[in-house]
C-alpha cells in the first residue's frame, strides 16, 4: 500500500477505492423510476459504481435515498493551503512565564455570544474555568482577567463593555444562522469596532464559531477566526503572543516559529442550532 499525497481519494475499505456515502431526497414519488433517477443523478455527479442501497417514500411526493459510489476525483494534499492564526503553542507554564516577563499585567478578555441564540456552550468552553475535554478555559490562566458576557449580547453592548473595561482582547462567538445573517452581524460589529474611539489601540478582535474560519474572519475585519475544535489553550497562546507582538513590535522571533502542529484539529462543533425560540 503506497499512499500518494499528490493524488488523495476517499478511503472506504482500501486505499484509493474512492468510496463515498451519500444521502439525499428527490422531490418525486418513490418507485423504480425514482431509484433509477437517483442512480443516474449520482453518475452525473461523477460517481462510478453507484449503488442505491436504500429508497423510501417520504409522503406523496418525496423519496429518500442512501447510496454509495466511487469518486474519481483526486486531491493534491501537498498543495492545500489554509490561512490560520500563526503562533507557537507553549505549555501552560511557559506561556505564563512569557506573559509575566513581557506583559507584566493581567490581560483583559471580554467575550460573549452575539445575536439571538441562547447557546453558550462554545464561548463557555473557551472562557470558563472548566474548559473543554481537559483543556482548561481562559479563566484558569492567572494572566487573564476574563469577563464573559454570555449569551445574546448586542454588538453595541459588547463594544461598550470592551471600551469601559479597557479590554485587550474581545472574543465573539457567533451562532449558526440562516441566510448568512451571522456574517452581516459580524460586519456590523467590525464597523462599530472601527468607529468606537474608546477602545485600546492594540485591541485583539477574535471571532469563533462552528462556521468560522480564519480567512473569513480576516475578510470581515477581525484579527483571527477560530473554527470548531479549537482548544482554549490555542486561543490563550494566540492572545498572549499577539499581545506581545503588538506591544513590543514585530521583531519577536516566534513569528518564524512553527505552526499549530501537523494534524488539523478534530472537527467538533461547539455550538448548537437552537431548535426553539422565535
Amino acid at each position: 500500500m503506497k499512499k500518494d499525497l499528490h493524488k488523495v481519494r476517499p478511503y472506504g475499505d482500501h486505499l484509493d477505492d474512492g468510496k463515498v456515502q451519500i444521502s439525499f431526497t428527490l422531490p418525486v414519488p418513490a418507485g423504480p423510476e425514482a431509484r433509477e433517477a437517483a442512480r443516474v443523478y449520482l453518475e452525473k455527479m461523477g460517481l462510478t459504481g453507484v449503488d442505491v442501497v436504500w429508497m423510501e417514500s417520504m409522503g406523496e411526493a418525496f423519496s429518500f435515498f442512501v447510496a454509495y459510489g466511487c469518486a474519481a476525483a483526486t486531491i493534491d494534499f501537498t498543495k492545500i493551503r489554509l490561512p490560520k492564526p500563526e503562533f507557537p503553542l507553549l505549555s501552560l507554564e511557559d506561556l505564563l512565564k512569557t506573559a509575566h516577563e513581557k506583559i507584566r499585567r493581567k490581560i483583559v478578555v471580554v467575550g460573549g455570544t452575539t445575536g439571538s441564540d441562547a447557546h453558550t456552550v462554545g464561548i463557555d468552553a473557551i472562557l470558563s474555568l472548566k474548559g473543554i475535554k481537559g483543556d482548561k478555559g481562559l479563566e484558569y490562566y492567572p494572566v487573564f482577567r476574563v469577563i464573559n458576557l454570555r449569551a445574546q449580547v448586542s454588538n453595541e453592548d459588547l463594544v461598550r463593555e470592551a471600551a469601559e473595561l479597557k479590554a485587550d482582547a474581545i472574543l465573539v462567538s457567533q451562532m449558526v444562522t440562516q441566510q448568512d445573517q451571522h456574517l452581516e452581524n459580524l460586519k456590523a460589529l467590525a464597523k462599530l469596532l472601527r468607529e468606537e474611539k474608546g477602545l485600546t489601540p492594540h485591541l485583539l478582535k477574535i471571532v469563533g464559531g462552528p462556521r468560522m474560519d480564519h480567512a473569513t474572519a480576516r475578510r470581515l475585519g477581525f484579527d483571527a477566526g477560530f473554527g470548531p475544535g479549537t482548544k482554549p489553550s490555542e486561543v490563550a497562546n494566540y492572545i498572549v503572543h499577539e499581545m506581545i507582538r503588538r506591544i513590543h513590535g514585530k521583531s519577536e522571533s516566534w513569528l518564524e516559529g512553527k505552526g499549530q502542529g501537523e494534524t488539523p484539529p478534530k472537527r467538533r462543533s461547539l455550538f448548537g442550532w437552537l431548535g426553539g425560540g422565535g
Binding site: 417520504m58 429518500f64 441562547a118 449569551a151 440562516q178 442550532w273 426553539g276
Partner: protein, 557 residues
Amino acid sequence: MSKLNLDRDKVEGCRVLAGKIARRVQDSVDRHTTVSIERATLRLLGVEESCKGRPLVNAVIDSLSREDLSRGIFYWLGRALAHHRSSPVSLCLRIAEGRIRWDRLPEASEDQIRRVTEPLARAAVQRLGQSALRKEQAREASGRSSRPLKYLIVATGNIYEDVEQAKSAVLNGADCIAVIRSTAQSLLDYVPFGATTEGFGGTYATQENFRIMRKAMDEIGRKEGRYIRVVNYSSGLCMPEIAVMAAFENLDYLLNDSMYGILFRDINMKRTFTDQYFSRLVIARSGIVINTGEDNYLTTAESFRAFPQVLTSQLINEQLGLLANLREEQMGLGHAFEMDPAIEDSLLYEIAQAETVREIFPNSPIKYMPPTRHMTGDIFFGQVLDTMFNLVGAVTQQEIQLLGMPTEAIHNPLLQDRFMSLKSAQYIFKAARGLADEISWSPNGKVIRRARSVLEDAHQLLKKVEKAGLLQAISMGLFAEMVRDPEGGRGLEGVVQRHPHYYNPILSLLEKKDEEEGLSQEDRNERGSRDRGRGPRPGGRRRRPRGRGGPPRRPSP
C-alpha cells in the same frame, strides 16, 4: 403508582412557596395593563385589519396617550359607540383615519358605556369558548393518538413551503406541527399581516399564516384519521395578541412563558408578566395548551447542576397559570434532555429528572425537549443521542416529545432529517411501549437519589426566590445564569398603570371562574369536580394516575 417515592410534603411545600411567589407577581400584574393587552382586546372584538401598512389595532391604541389608555380601550370604545352607531371594526377604521377624534367625543355615562360594550364582550368570550369546543370535538372524533405525541418543527420562512413540509411530516407520523417564528419576531411590538413567504430562520406568525396551516393540517389529518395539533408562539411583545389570533384560528398549543422572554429575549419583566396573565386568560378559555420554556435554561447552564432551576420555574409557572384560570391539563411544562454525554450514568440521571417532572405534575401534558447543547456536526452520534432521548421519553411516559434532529447543530432540518427522526422515534416508542409499566427503581439507587436531590434543591431555590421575590431573583441570575434588570429590557414603555376606573369587560368575564360559556357538558363536569381554588392546594390534591391503571397516588407518609 409513584416510582420515585418523592416526599409529598416537600412537593406540597414547594407548591406553597411557588404560590406565594406567584401571588406577589400577580399583585403587580393586577394593577397594570399594556399596549399589547389593549390591542388584544380590540382583536377580540374582531379588529384584524391592516391600515396604511400597519395593524389597525396599533394605529388605534397609539392614538391614545398613555394616560388616556389607563382607562382601558373599552372605556373609549364605549364612549365612541354610544354616539356613533357602528361596528368596532368600522369605528377603529374611522379613528385611524382621523375621522373620529378621542378628544372630541361627548361624555357618556357609565351605564351607557356598559350597555354598548357588554354584548360585544360576551360575544368575544363566547367565540373563545367555541374554539375550545371545536378542538375538543375534533380530538375526540379522531380517537386518541399514542403517547408521547410526536412534535415536529417546520421553519422555512415561507408558509406555503411550511405546509408542504408539515404534510410530509404528518404522513410520516407527526402529531404536532410547530411553525418556528422568524428570528426576533418576539421583539416586534406589532403582529405582521397576511400570508408571508419570507422570514429569517422561521416564518412570521400572522393570523393568515395560522389559518393556512390549520386548514392544511385539518385536511391531511382527516385523510390520515388523526387530529394534528398546530403550534405557534404566544411570546414576546405581542403575547396577548397572538393568543387571541391563535384562539380564533383554532390552534392547539402555544409556547407561552414570560420567564423565557425575560431571560432569553431580554423583554422587560413587568411588561411580559402583565401580558402573560391576559394571554393565559384567553388561552384558558379557548382550550389551548401552553408550552413553557424551561428547557432553554439547560442551554446556558449545565443540566446536572441546573435542573433544579427547571423544576422551580415549572412550579412557579404552574401557580401563575392557575391564577390565570389554566387547568393543569392545559400546562405543557417544558424540560429537556441536555446532560453532558461524557457524564457516567447520564442516562440514569436523565431518567430521574424526567420522571421527577412527570410525577410532580401528573395531570399536566409535559413537553420534553431534545438534546441541543451537546449536538455536534457528527450526525451519526447525534442520532444516537436522540435515540437515548426518545427512550427516556418512553420510559418516563412524557406527553409531548419534541423530536430531535440529527442535524440540530448544523442547519434547519432537511426534509429527510425529519423523516429519519420520525422513523426512529416511532420504532423506540413502539419497542418500549410497555417498558414504563415494567420498571421500578431501586429504592436507594441513583435514580431515586437524584430525584430526591433535585426536589430538595428546587425547594431550597424556591425559598430563596420567595424571600427575594421573583423579579429580584431573576435580577440575581438565579435562573439560567442570566441576569436581567426589572427596569431593563424591551417593552417597559408599553406598560400602563391602570386607572381606578379601568374598564375591560372581557377581562372581567375571563377572570370569572364560574363563567362556563362555550364549554361542553363534559368539560363542565370535569371542572366542577376539581378543586378550582386559587393558589396551591396543599394536602388533598386530587391526582389521577397517568394511564397506567392502578389507584390514585397518595401522599407518602
